[in-house]
Amino acid sequence: DAMVIQNPRYQVTQFGKPVTLSCSQTLNHNVMYWYQQKSSQAPKLLFHYYDKDFNNEADTPDNFQSRRPNTSFCFLDIRSPGLGDAAMYLCATSRAGLAGRTSTDTQYFGPGTRLTVL
């Protein structure tokens, strides 16, 4: 079955120690997203890739970086995790609509990685 896969499902890191979360997809979608979701809150978009083009959200801290080496994979790097970065990180994919038009495309989410910072 086509799907969005995130590894690991649970990640524990130490304060200040860099950590990388991974996402892969078999849907062949051209857009990949990273969201942060804290307890009892809605998901918050950090950034997304449209093909190889990186689109950062204005309020995403510099501590968060992303890489997309190919269509199928996308990584979230947290350079120096703080206690406030403990959250669920969700990856999603979609197939974007025509340029300049409202995207009709549904975003499909992976199971998430729950990050704990000690």
Binding site: A42, Y50, T102, P111
Partner: protein, 118 residues
């Protein structure tokens, strides 16, 4: 400004009761898309439905039904004969207009936590 409001933070019902989750949205776009997602305790966001702004027909899928009314900017979700497995957080979302070289961006409501008790 684009905004989604889910006024019900928590709802608790007994199994087999019907329950309606409210969603009100704000947008200046004439073309837009509305979504509902389910987030069970495992954390994954599961896509339920997408509705475009030109189609106000109600939709039914098994025990689920959706009522879209542009006149009141509402997109409500009803579960008939609720079951314990319906217990989850439900998010309503609006797809914002995108620019060239960007994927669609979801504007989420704050979510409604539904608890179905046996």
């Amino acid at each position: 400004a684009q905004k989604v409001t889910q006024a019900q933070t928590e709802i608790s019902v007994v199994e087999k009761e019907d329950v309606t989750l409210d969603c009100v949205y704000e947008t200046r776009d004439t073309t837009y898309y509305l979504f509902w997602y389910k987030q069970p305790p495992s954390g994954e966001l599961v896509f339920l439905i997408r509705r475009n702004s030109f189609d106000e027909q109600n939709e039914i899928s098994g025990r689920y039904s959706w009522n879209f009314q542009k006149s009141t900017s509402s997109f409500n979700f009803t579960i008939t004969a609720s079951q314990v497995v319906d217990s989850a957080v439900y998010f309503c979302a609006l797809n914002r207009r995108v620019l060239y070289n960007q994927g669609g961006k979801l504007i989420f409501g704050q979510g409604t936590e539904l608890s179905v008790k046996p």
